[in-house]
């Protein structure tokens, strides 16, 4: 621990206190005041808790069920394998609202599938699987990349391909699989965009219930109590997640190239995996198709509508929404980058307890956070500060994780060598560490920007009409009747998806994110 790392820790703590603990504490205080019993005795609200739990648990179960056979195939090398692995990561940087409109275009009332699944849990589970499967695959394949020697050892000891998968690779991947399942639970349990648009009243999550209580009924106490329940569940799950990570973590060796699956079997694997992803990602294709589809077939009306000037104060034009989206993301990045770097640097240099604290923002849902801000800083409602702070709080852990992974890959003795050559900690940071971390910083910024571009929950609560972003504009169009509005929402979603993916791959070239 050196002086810069202490200052970094102090900065992060101050930010967390002001931007997270104080507002959230106020909300929780209100929630306790309102009474948990009031929430738990109300059958509708109890139903929200039950469904949120079921949605979280069901989603993680589905992700694990699909991930295991996919990993079995993807641990081989076959034609097109690397492209498929890269493709599986695409939805992770897509805004949830894009996934939601995609599901609507695929399996909604006017969906391409021809089967209206909206208002059923299946459309939500499909969306959740689409969103979370790639992340889990990436985690598991990352661990298994280093187990090549171990599989060879198992093979020479008489275990066939399936047996070595079962006895060696699956146990080694258990930690990563549990991490994927845990994160899927957290994301699904507290998801907002997907159930708000597709779930109807029956399949609204707690997060949606908070938003509705607040905006439709102005029931602040009820919203606070719901946030309290939600936060309690998320804390419990995270503690379980941390425990599982400690128990299941195994260190494997250096990455080794996967074994080759030759001939017909290789092509069969390609067909199987590619076919699965084509079906799973069909909603994204449907979204693009639908944006070019009017009541009488092919039509550019939805795209042409993007050029319309602002219809009313409450209906932002596409141009303004895009401008706002990019402006807020850039402003947020100015906070996220120094904050995320300070956090990663503090953890890396061994400031104790900081790594756990950094988890906290992942536990807080954007809507709860925004509610807390309105409560804690009513005087700032008219300034962009609250919005930018919320973005930075939600994005900095992702920024920091990417940078931290790169920091941990740096050999420790580089800094020591610089110290023996006369450089103090600040000089080491400037002359050795920062230059080496530059590619990772670019990737981290790209990830943070992609995430904030698609932010929906906090924006919806905090934004004033003139601050509407693309996500808010999509939601506004979806809420209005008529096929043109529907088509315009689809076109806006495609635009948003391209923007998020473009920023992610353009800025970070996608490679460095761990």
């Amino acid at each position: 621990m050196n002086l810069p790392s202490r200052l970094a820790a102090l900065l992060v703590l101050a930010f967390l206190a002001l931007a997270l603990l104080w507002p959230l504490g106020l909300v929780i205080g209100r929630g306790v005041g309102y009474g948990l019993s009031a929430v738990l005795t109300d059958p509708y609200l109890r139903g929200r808790l039950g469904w949120s739990l079921a949605f979280g648990a069901g989603s993680s179960l589905l992700v694990v069920l699909f991930a295991v056979p996919l990993v079995y195939l993807l641990r081989y090398r076959f034609p097109g394998r690397d492209a498929l692995v890269a493709l599986s990561m695409v939805p992770f940087v897509l805004p949830t609202l894009v996934v939601a409109t995609g599901m609507l275009a695929w399996a909604g009332p006017r969906g391409l599938l021809g089967l209206d699944l909206s208002g059923t849990p299946w459309i939500l589970f499909w969306g959740s699987l689409l969103y979370n499967l790639g992340m889990t695959l990436r985690l598991v394949l990352g661990v298994l990349g280093g187990s090549g020697r171990l599989v060879e050892a198992a093979r020479t000891l008489g275990a066939g391909s399936w047996r070595s998968f079962w006895r060696v690779e699956l146990p080694l991947a258990a930690g990563a699989l549990a991490a994927g399942a845990g994160l899927t639970f957290v994301y699904s349990f507290s998801s907002f965009g997907l159930p708000l648009i597709l779930g109807g009243p029956r399949y609204a999550t707690l997060e949606v219930a908070v938003y509705r209580a607040l905006l439709e009924r102005l029931a602040f106490g009820e919203a606070a109590a719901l946030i309290l329940v939600q936060t309690a569940v998320l804390v419990l799950v995270s503690l379980g997640y941390l425990y599982a990570q400690k128990r299941l973590a195994v260190r494997t060796g250096a990455p080794a190239p996967p074994p080759r699956l030759g001939g017909v079997r290789g092509w069969a694997a390609l067909l199987l995996v590619a076919g699965f992803f084509t079906l799973l990602y069909a909603p994204l294709g449907a979204l693009v198709l639908r944006s070019f589809w009017g009541p009488e077939g092919f039509s550019l009306a939805g795209w042409a509508a993007l050029a319309r000037p602002q219809a009313s104060y409450f209906a932002p034009s596409a141009g303004l929404a895009t401008y706002n989206t990019l402006r807020f993301s850039l402003l947020a990045l100015l906070v996220t980058a120094p904050l995320g770097f300070a956090y990663a640097y503090g953890v890396w240099k061994g400031v104790r307890g900081l790594d756990l604290l950094g988890f906290l923002p992942l536990l807080v849902s954007p809507v709860s956070l925004a509610v807390g801000y309105l409560l804690a800083y009513p005087g700032l409602r008219a300034s962009l500060l609250l919005l930018v702070t919320a973005y930075a709080l939600l994005a900095y852990p992702l920024f920091a994780r990417t940078v931290l992974a790169a920091m941990r890959r740096l050999p420790a003795n580089l800094a020591e060598a610089a110290r023996t050559l006369g450089a103090g900690p600040w000089r080491v940071l400037a002359r050795v560490e920062l230059p080496l971390l530059r590619p990772a910083l670019g990737a981290a910024a790209a990830l943070a920007a992609a995430v904030t571009i698609g932010e929906f929950g906090a924006t919806l609560v905090l934004a004033r009409p003139e601050w509407a972003t693309l996500t808010v504009a999509i939601y506004e169009r979806l809420g209005k009747p008529g096929t043109l509005n529907y088509q315009e929402a689809m076109a806006l979603s495609v635009l948003l998806g391209l923007l998020a993916a473009g920023v992610f791959w353009g800025l970070g070239r996608g490679g460095e994110v761990g």
């Binding site: 171990l150 050892a153 093979r155 020479t156 008489g158 066939g160 070595s164 146990p171 080694l172 060796g253």
Partner: protein, 321 residues
């Protein structure tokens, strides 16, 4: 017991060709510098790699098309490849469970091996809790447990420090002799090969350059490169040999004991004197040729001293280019 028949392994920019046989119960060392292809030969024998051409035979059976799990060989990896999620005991039992042994028999065999390797106290530890030497012994026990027909060892001592290497080398030698297993091990260290193996096969750039009993190979290296690789320091070019009065047209190697100090027809000077402890090494110069002598420190001349020396022509051998 194990035979490579006209095996070819191709990589971009590299090709290994090998035609070699190992008799039942024999210990063979594949000796060569890194990148010579010796590890590929071992991986082909285990079925971890497929040869581009040629066949592999185990116990007279063509196993070229069999996957590793159906070949029944034991393999010790350079980095040991111990399963990090299993205890020492479970690691050793792994292959026995795959072969469907009964529980009681597994327990007996595992206990026997742990005792033999002095690992009883570590039975319930995970690999990460062990030292390098202990890991090496677990890897050996795991490979030996299913009583394989052939044991293949890829640089088994490569990851250990020098002191530990010497101790484990003797242990390895004892185990290989005691288990009466056919063993092939790959190494780049000629001492390791000489001490452990009954036969040494030297591989260079994907070609087998020489094979035979360790002493025979050491005393009659095939060519200049092999002589140097085996540790000979007095490898003389034809002109140098002629300058020292040794007849014959080719390069010549002075075997240990060929050089005698104190008397003789040659005049020389000590250029460098290297004190190793039990012995001392002297780099000498005589008639413009650098020569190396090694022996007891007692009475060895000082650096810079002039001396007379003689070469016993019977202890020199002519080698190929």
């Amino acid at each position: 017991m194990l035979a490579w028949r006209n095996v070819v392994v191709r990589y971009p920019g590299f090709e290994l060709t090998l035609d070699l046989e190992v008799a039942r119960g024999e210990t063979l060392a594949l000796l060569g510098p890194s990148g010579s292809g010796k590890s590929s030969a071992l991986r082909v024998a285990a079925g971890l790699e497929r040869p581009s051409a040629g066949r592999v035979f185990l116990g007279g059976r063509d196993v070229t098309d069999l996957p590793p799990e159906r070949r029944g060989v034991g393999f010790v990896f350079q980095d040991y490849a111990l399963f990090p999620h299993l205890t020492v005991e479970k690691n050793v039992a792994f292959g026995l469970e795959e072969r469907g042994w009964e529980r009681a028999r597994i327990r007996r065999r595992v206990g026997e091996l742990l005792e033999q390797m002095g690992l009883e106290a570590h039975a319930h530890k995970k690999p990460e809790q062990l030292s390098g030497g202990e890991r090496q012994r677990v890897a050996l026990a795991r490979a030996l447990a299913p009583e394989p027909g052939v044991l293949l060892l890829d640089e088994p001592l490569g990851a250990l420090d020098l002191r530990l290497r010497e101790r484990l080398l003797l242990e390895l030698r004892r185990v290989l002799a005691g288990e009466e297993v056919t063993a092939v091990f790959v190494t780049h260290d000629q001492t390791e090969a000489f001490v452990t193996a009954e036969r040494v096969a030297i591989v260079k750039n994907g070609r087998l350059v020489q094979q035979g009993a360790p002493e025979a190979v050491f005393e009659r290296p095939a060519d200049v490169w092999t002589a140097r690789f085996l540790g000979h320091k007095n490898v003389l070019a034809p002109e140098e040999a002629a300058a020292l009065g040794l007849t014959g047209g080719g390069p010549r190697v002075l075997l240990p004991g060929a050089l005698r100090l104190g008397a003789g027809p040659l005049e020389g000077r000590v250029v460098e004197r290297l004190f190793y402890g039990p012995r001392v090494g002297l780099w000498l110069e005589a008639r413009g040729v650098r020569l190396y002598w090694e022996g007891s420190a007692a009475g060895a001349p000082a650096e810079g001293a002039a001396l007379r020396l003689a070469i016993d022509p019977g202890r020199t051998v002519e080698v190929g280019q």
